[in-house]
């Protein structure tokens, strides 16, 4: 029982990061129908800035805002340089563009920074634990879960109680009608990318802290987890993205714990089997939303 509780907390901690990543993916998908495979670059770019900052005497107190701000700026730049060029193009074109951005950013770091792992120190407290009965709960997991809860509450407020949120939701429901009703498409799209970057930046703080290193392909794993979580939750559904992230995190930790020793390294494979089964029974994900075709 104690190990199950321990694993549940660990899974929620991991899933919270996935939820933030998935939410960022879902926000952009809702507006542009773009499944953004360049989302991971919002971790890679701040990751290299983190490496640079620590080599120049910065501390985590100053690196954290650097990560968040750089993720937002990177997201806006990627939108301006790449996605604004293909706005209105077919979904497949935008998908390929996102792949292109990913490969160009990775190649840039590979060519100009190098292929090797670039390490930086993790915060001293990241593996500290708090004992509660027989449980040793990682402070890191508690912080991640707490911050995620606050961020999700703030995002909900932003989307539900502000004009920007109203415009974003209207555009997500029917982009063309929203434009006809006076919603500024440029502002909404840039706002969506800024929000996506902000969420990726906050997730990135925890991801980067735990990794302790960065490489040119550092963004692949968070991108895959974010996209997977968004797919599990139901593409386009913001609540689904959060749910998908938590489900994915819990599935990874619990499967890893429950699978017999000889096949534990198939955990990821089993996660994908479960996702495949989910899509057989619920093709739209856990919380599917009606898809509006763009004309």
């Amino acid at each position: 029982m104690a190990e199950l509780l321990q694993n549940l907390i660990d899974g929620l901690g991991r899933g919270s990061i996935y939820a933030l990543l998935a939410l960022g993916v879902a926000v952009v998908f809702g507006i542009m129908h773009l499944l953004n495979f360049a989302h991971g670059e919002l971790i890679t770019i701040p990751g290299y800035l983190t490496y640079w900052a620590f080599n120049n005497g910065w501390s985590w107190w100053t690196v954290v805002p650097l990560i968040i701000v750089s993720a937002v700026i990177s997201s806006l730049l990627i939108e301006r340089v790449a996605f604004s060029r293909v706005r209105g193009a077919k979904d497949f074109t935008m998908l390929l563009t996102s792949f292109g951005v990913h490969f160009i950013v990775s190649a840039g770091f590979l060519l100009y920074i190098g292929a090797a792992v670039k390490p930086y120190p993790r915060p001293g407290w990241f593996a500290d634990t708090i004992s509660v009965g027989s449980l040793n709960i990682e402070v890191f997991d508690l912080v991640v879960i707490g911050v995620t809860a606050v961020v999700l509450a703030a995002t909900t407020w932003l989307l539900q109680r502000t004009m920007f949120g109203l415009a974003l939701r209207a555009a997500a429901a029917d982009f063309d009608t929203a434009r006809l009703m006076g919603v500024n498409s440029d502002s909404v799209i840039r706002g969506a990318f800024a929000l996506s970057g902000l969420l990726a930046g906050i997730a990135g703080v925890f991801w980067i802290m735990r990794e302790g290193q960065v490489t040119p392909t550092a963004g692949i794993n968070p991108m895959l987890q974010g996209v997977l979580a968004a797919l599990i939750g139901g593409l386009g559904s913001l609540r689904g993205a959060v749910l998908g992230g938590l489900v994915l995190g819990l599935a990874e930790v619990l499967l890893r714990s429950w699978l017999p020793v000889g096949i534990q390294n198939l955990t990821t494979g089993f996660v994908f089997v479960m996702i495949a089964l989910l899509f057989i029974f619920r093709p739209g994900g856990l919380l599917s939303v009606p898809q509006v075709e763009r004309v």
Binding site: E3, R14, I104, A116, V117, A127, D128, R210, Q213, R256
Partner: protein, 420 residues
């Protein structure tokens, strides 16, 4: 300027830079002439008293590029380098492809080999190592230096029909060595280094081990723990916990640590071929669970992933590919070639030795035929290279080299023992 134009300019700049960085153009150490039979001579050579002429490596490394001997004018010795500049191997192959041409220039400055210049041509393996190999065969390469992974080395082998000597300079993968097809490692293999690690652990009185593996038989990340486990249990040790993980991916080991904490008492030796950044994360999580006195051991991945630069790596024990002697001519050569400050300086002697081993094969066979050179390489015995003594005679292409055991102390590797 329109953004479309700006984007176009950026892409064009990136492509030009990529072309320059890939060294697809010749990294030639000297002038090219037609291939021909090798000649005997005295330049940069000494008699090693073992019945064949040996290279005077010390003299070559000490050569002064500002005061060279007459340029060698014989037929060139052509060294083909098929290098992987991607993330997987680029950390070693990028500096490796810089240090070899530099050392070739030292050879030529020293008068060449029997009056013959050494030429080095680098091709990036990219997605088609076979094509890169064929281009170098067409160029006239006498032997090859290849990347550390089988996905590139095997196509090289096939393209050369198994007739060319291929040195997988940075590799420790045992299945890659294949003397029958003239493919050679330049250092010990994973079985050797992990067995040595187990022997060292047992000699320290450590009898309980925790192993992290990617799965039995998985190249490198599984083979190393397999070998450690076999040697450790054969020596009377006990494996108290065996956990799996994803190599170079996982940094959250919560569920593994929960399981380890239920069986370990904190006095165990931990062994893995995991990347340094993974094991420092794992160590922090283990210590968070109260497992504070574990001895952390690992194989040479720690060389590759900057464990000495990671504050969490203090105290880690591992098996580096080579040990660089501070202030030596070799270190000066690495510094002058710009590779001492690279991500993998300890691998550079292996690249340098790869070139010298191929040249030694040429000297031993007195021929220019790749198959004859490879046959001679196969019979090399007691070659004193920059990375230690190398023998291929009677092996399957894995030199039986001694394994250094070092500990990260104050951010530097300190030698604890040498095994073998």
């Amino acid at each position: 300027m329109k953004f479309r134009h700006l984007l176009g300019l950026l892409l064009a700049f990136a492509m030009i830079a990529a072309a320059c960085g890939s060294s697809d153009t010749a990294d030639t150490a000297d002038t090219a002439t037609d291939d021909a039979a090798m000649l005997d001579g005295d330049d940069a050579m000494e008699d090693d008293g073992a019945g064949h002429s040996g290279l005077d490596i010390d003299a070559i490394l000490a050569a002064d590029l500002s005061n060279c001997a007459d340029a060698p004018s014989g037929d060139p010795i052509k060294v083909g380098m098929v290098m992987d500049f991607s993330e997987a191997a680029g950390f070693v192959d990028v500096p490796g492809s810089e240090v070899v041409p530099y050392v070739a220039s030292l050879v030529n400055c020293n008068g060449g080999i029997n009056g013959q210049p050494v030429e080095v041509e680098v091709r990036e393996s990219g997605t088609d190592p076979a094509l890169a190999t064929q281009e170098l065969i067409d160029w006239g390469a006498h032997f090859f230096i290849g990347p550390p992974f089988a996905d590139a080395t095997l196509p090289m082998q096939q393209t050369g029909g198994g007739e060319y000597a291929i040195f997988a300079a940075a590799s420790t993968e045992p299945t890659l060595a294949d003397a029958a097809n003239n493919t050679f490692l330049v250092t010990f293999d994973d079985n050797g280094q992990s067995t040595a690690s187990a022997e060292f652990a047992l000699a320290q009185g450590l009898t309980r081990a925790i192993i992290f593996t990617e799965g039995e038989g998985v190249p490198y990340s599984g083979v190393n723990p397999d070998a450690f486990k076999a040697a450790f249990t054969a020596g009377g040790g006990e494996i108290v916990s065996e956990q799996t993980y994803a190599w170079f991916v996982d940094t959250d080991f919560s569920s593994q640590v929960n399981e380890v904490a239920s069986v370990a008492d904190g006095s165990e030796v931990f062994f893995s071929a995991g990347a340094g950044f993974q094991i420092t994360a794992l160590r922090a999580q283990m210590e968070g669970q109260g497992l504070n006195d574990i001895t952390y051991m690992g194989t040479d991945a720690f060389d590759a992933t900057g464990i000495t630069a990671d504050p969490g790596g203090e105290g880690f024990i591992h098996t580096p590919h080579t040990l660089l002697e501070a202030g030596s001519d070799l270190e000066k050569v690495l510094e002058a070639s710009g590779t001492l400050a690279s991500d993998a300086p300890a691998f550079m002697p292996l690249y340098i030795d790869s070139m010298f081993l191929g040249i030694q094969g040429i000297l031993d066979c007195g021929c220019a035929d790749p198959a004859g050179i490879a046959e001679a390489v196969k019979n090399i015995s007691g070659f004193e290279g920059t990375s230690g003594s190398i023998t291929y005679a009677g092996t399957n292409g894995i030199p039986p080299k001694a394994v250094p055991i070092v500990q990260v102390t104050d951010g530097a590797n300190v030698l604890l023992d040498t095994i073998g």
